[in-house]
Symmetry: C2
Subunit: 451 residues, 2 copies
């Protein structure tokens, strides 16, 4: 029997009949944007205060600054300093709404998206859903290794690493200790190189302080690359300099080699080498990810969506794709544009500028990519830069890398935090608190019968 | 077939035959400490550089500063600024070792502890395992609400809160929206009062910025207390002032009331009131937690362990208990000492000072508790203080609270971080990034048939 029911009904604007997710009604066109990465956010920034209703959907409530994920993984930065809440970003944009939901399906025939939280109609749809780790169908590797594509991946790597180092202090089994303290990174692109460098610095500066009981040689870092050079999209100078930096930091590099199997304790390579390692970080490939509902015939290599030169998805009147997922295939770009932050930002800005003109059927210029150059860092005072004709390496490249990244992070507070952490780390070689909050499921012990 | 096996065997000091967890051999007495809270850490600090081997076991690799858990829960602080890695704490203490493991059983007859990672022998054992949330056997409450006893609880509360606020923006169901935006806190002690105040400030300053689509009245905060006053261990002045502060912040307080049932959406109280709320935070009780193996007859009220006045567990020669778990029952303290940080620190220091004398069979003085007074805060510029004869409230109490807490946090970096966040928050009312990284499992929708 209820004596007293405390209840306060709270009225928001009514829901549109056709939507099951609550959104304010509006008589301007509704643009639904799926994904708030570099591309999606650049688009939203351009559309703010314009005569459209923008609804941003993302499975996270924050934007991630992917270029620094490896620093979160190696305890150099805290996760909250490289992510930024969408609601803070769109604060004051009266025509922009954010809804936390995962889009599961697009139904182009009815201009509808289906999410895990309900259904929403759109007038225009922009896909900016990015890529995910590609394990190329190797189930054993996918099940036992970690990718590094989002903040949760980074935290998983951090916790795997710290838990395994703790376990190494506990075990009396030498093979087990070997496996727990060996690290294998697959892929010699920017993510792999930066991760290897950061791990090597951790090994050099942090390990002796935190684990005085270990000999300094306990941690081994292997970098496996399928071809014969690192950073293959950059210049030969950048590539060879990076190799030198990593060797100086004691990283063991295996060229022309790839992983064929991984049981969680032992990595097997194609040529038959085996490495005992419970830490495998996979940065060797990505593939596009997007909700079902897009006609298969518009999906091209790398699971990307083929668009025209205006970023409109082929075969649809009101669906667009931007960022890593979009592939504009022309004679100049037979494999689409490079899947990097620069492309994503430029495409987001372009579409944000042009979408209203497209809606009004005005003639527009096609998208044109402007390569601003590449930077990669291996560690403190060690970086490489290719800026057009200028190719250089060392302290100045590292300084440039630091400034460019610091200025690109969303939010003043985040910039301050990252700057502070970097400054502390520069002078003290100390990193942030190495705490295991997330539970990473430990792997089963090394199987001795196998050897 | 193996062509080339890359292997580096790493030698550490050999394991003792009787241990299955790797520990260096030593000819001084081994003191095993279980738990690195205020008590355990104070003990370790006193034992450093002494003629004993100290092995600290904890299920986490970090010490937690529990008094500020509620600030992590309400996004005022990041988790890493109130936790501190044990390995950083014991850096340079040659006779102190840390092992990350959960102790499952004590076997006093063989001087052995059994952990989830293996077995270790001790000469002396100190239990400093603290308390856990006490739901007093109410299964429905335990299953659906959140306690606030460690950093993971705080993060769970933060994520519950942010996910529910996001879901409230999505749902078109008004009861559901009610439930998602109502918060119930059970327990009017310091934890409950501080949590209620922090939530009320969140509602007042953050909600309108992050969710401009909501009316300001959308979030309701209820505080349920079993007796007729808040902060019952403090003075009447502190109690009545706290009540006023909370009322000013629009917190609805239910006195002489307790929760009888909670299904995840609706709280039912003993007197028959019902509140729709998907956010229930339980701070109404604690109970001691410790591994099995201690004779039941030495366990007293609140699941605490009865010790003599020297903190030795009754019935054992070489087992001690300190902190929340220890109960010294005398005429002065018929229910043991208060379960607060002060007691824990004083007991840890006392035992750290005396343990070597106990080992050498020297006569020692019994433990004597010195009450340094109590502080509690409801929000910015609102706090209460009982310092002996001096009882005051308001700005100065709040300033004192801030300074005392800031100076008590482990680690210079943490102090800097917390100070920085507090300063920013003081001037801007802004909090740190409200990001949902942890997945908090959402509760099922409000059951409409029930009403």
């Amino acid at each position: 029997m209820k004596i007293n029911n405390i209840k306060h009904t709270k009225h928001l604007s009514p829901c549109k009949i056709s939507d099951t997710i609550c959104l304010p009604d509006s008589n301007v066109p509704r643009i639904v944007v799926i994904g708030g990465g570099f591309a999606g956010l650049a688009l939203v920034e351009k559309l703010k205060h314009k005569e459209v209703q923008v609804v941003l959907f993302d499975k996270n409530n924050f934007h991630q600054f992917q270029p620094l994920l490896y620093q979160v993984a190696t305890s150099a930065l805290e996760p909250d300093s490289i992510v930024f809440p969408f609601r803070k970003q769109i604060n004051g944009y009266k025509n922009v709404l954010f809804r936390l939901a995962e889009v599961e399906e697009i139904q182009p025939s009815s201009n509808t998206i289906v999410t895990n939280k309900g259904i929403v109609n759109y007038d225009y749809l922009v896909l900016a859903t990015g890529t995910t780790t590609n394990f190329f169908g190797m189930e054993s590797v996918e099940a036992n290794s970690l990718g590094m594509k989002d903040i949760r991946d980074s935290l998983n790597i951090r916790h795997m690493m710290l838990q395994n180092l703790e376990q190494a202090a506990i075990t009396c089994d030498e093979d087990e200790r070997d496996a727990l303290t060996n690290f294998v990174i697959v892929g010699g692109g920017p993510a792999g190189v930066e991760m290897a460098g950061a791990l090597a610095e951790f090994c050099k500066y942090i390990l002796p302080k935190d684990y005085p009981e270990y000999p300094s040689s306990i941690m081994n870092i292997y970098l496996i690359e399928a071809i014969d050079k690192l950073l293959s999209t950059m210049s030969d100078k950048a590539s060879s300099k990076t190799l030198k930096y990593l060797k100086d930091l004691n990283v063991k590099i295996l060229f022309n080699e790839s992983v064929s199997d991984y049981d969680g304790s032992q990595v097997t390579t194609k040529s038959g080498k085996t490495i005992l390692a419970k830490n495998l970080i996979w940065t060797a490939g990505v593939k596009g990810q997007f909700p079902k509902g897009i006609d298969e015939k518009h999906v091209v290599k790398g699971n990307r969506i083929k668009t025209d030169s205006y970023l409109k998805v082929e075969g649809y009147k009101n669906i667009f794709a931007i960022g890593d997922i979009a592939s504009i295939i022309t004679d100049d770009t037979p494999r689409g544009h490079p899947q990097v932050a620069q492309t994503a930002i430029q495409q987001g800005k372009y579409l944000g500028d042009k979408l209203l003109e497209i809606i009004k059927n005005k003639p527009i210029k096609p998208f044109k990519y402007k390569d601003k150059g590449s930077l990669a860092t291996v560690g403190k005072r060690r970086a490489v830069a290719d800026l057009g004709r200028f190719k250089f390496a060392g302290y100045f490249a590292w300084l440039l890398w630091s400034v460019v990244h610091l200025m690109s992070i969303s939010g003043f507070r985040n910039r301050l935090m990252v700057g502070f952490n970097w400054a502390v780390s520069y002078f003290t070689y100390e990193k942030s608190n190495r705490v295991i909050i997330r539970n990473f499921k430990p792997k089963p012990p090394v199987n001795h019968t196998k050897k």
